[in-house]
Symmetry: C2
Amino acid sequence: MSGAILLADHGSRRAEANEQVEALAQILRDRIADTIVEIAHLELLPPDMTTAIDRCVQQGATGIIVLPYFLGPGRHTRKDIPEAIEAGRQRHPGVEIRMAEPLGIHEKVIDLLLERIEQASRD
Amino acid sequence: MSGAILLADHGSRRAEANEQVEALAQILRDRIADTIVEIAHLELLPPDMTTAIDRCVQQGATGIIVLPYFLGPGRHTRKDIPEAIEAGRQRHPGVEIRMAEPLGIHEKVIDLLLERIEQASRD
C-alpha cells in the first residue's frame, strides 16, 4: 500500500502560521520514509480537504491518514474533517482514508506548556 | 509576588472541547503550587480575556502569565491576546502581565503527531 499523510490545520491569514505548517509537513516527509505528505487548510485559504485528498490519490496513495493539527476536539475535528473524509471515500472507493486523533491532553503537551510558562517567567 | 496562569484557548460550542480545557487547567493547578489558574476563551463563550484577567487580580495576583493554548501563531496569539494584555495593564497598573509563546513546532509536538499517526495506522 502506498501511504499518504494529510496534515489538516485551521488555516490563517498570517504567513507565519502557514509557513509553520509547511515546515511541519517537511519534517514529517523527512521522518517518515516513502510517504506522501500533503496539507489542507480547513478555513481561509486553499488547499481545502477535497483538493488535498485528491492530490494524495493522484500521487498514487491507496491509504491516507488525515492528521489533524489541532489541540482538541471541536467542529473541525468532529464534523468538518470526518465529513470531508466520507466524501473522499465516496470519490475514491479503492482508497482507505483514516483520521488520527487530535493531539489532546497528553503528557508531552503538558510538559511543553510548563516549559512555555517557565520561559515567560524568566524573560 | 502572587502568581496566576491564565490559560487562553479558542473556545468551542462543544462541551468536549471546553471540558478538556477545564481538565488542563486543573492539571496546571495540581502541578504548579500556590498558583491561581484561570481560563479565558477567545471566542464563542465566556469568560473572555478581560473577565479572566480581572478574576486573577481579584484573587490577589500581582503577576499573570497568559498561556495561549494554541499550536501556532495566528490572529488570536498575535493580535487579540496582546491587545487584551495591554488593556489589562492599563486597568491594573500594579500587575505584571506577560504572555507565553504558543506551543509551536517543538520536538514534543512532533513526537506526539508521530504517535497519533502510528495509532491511526494500527486501528
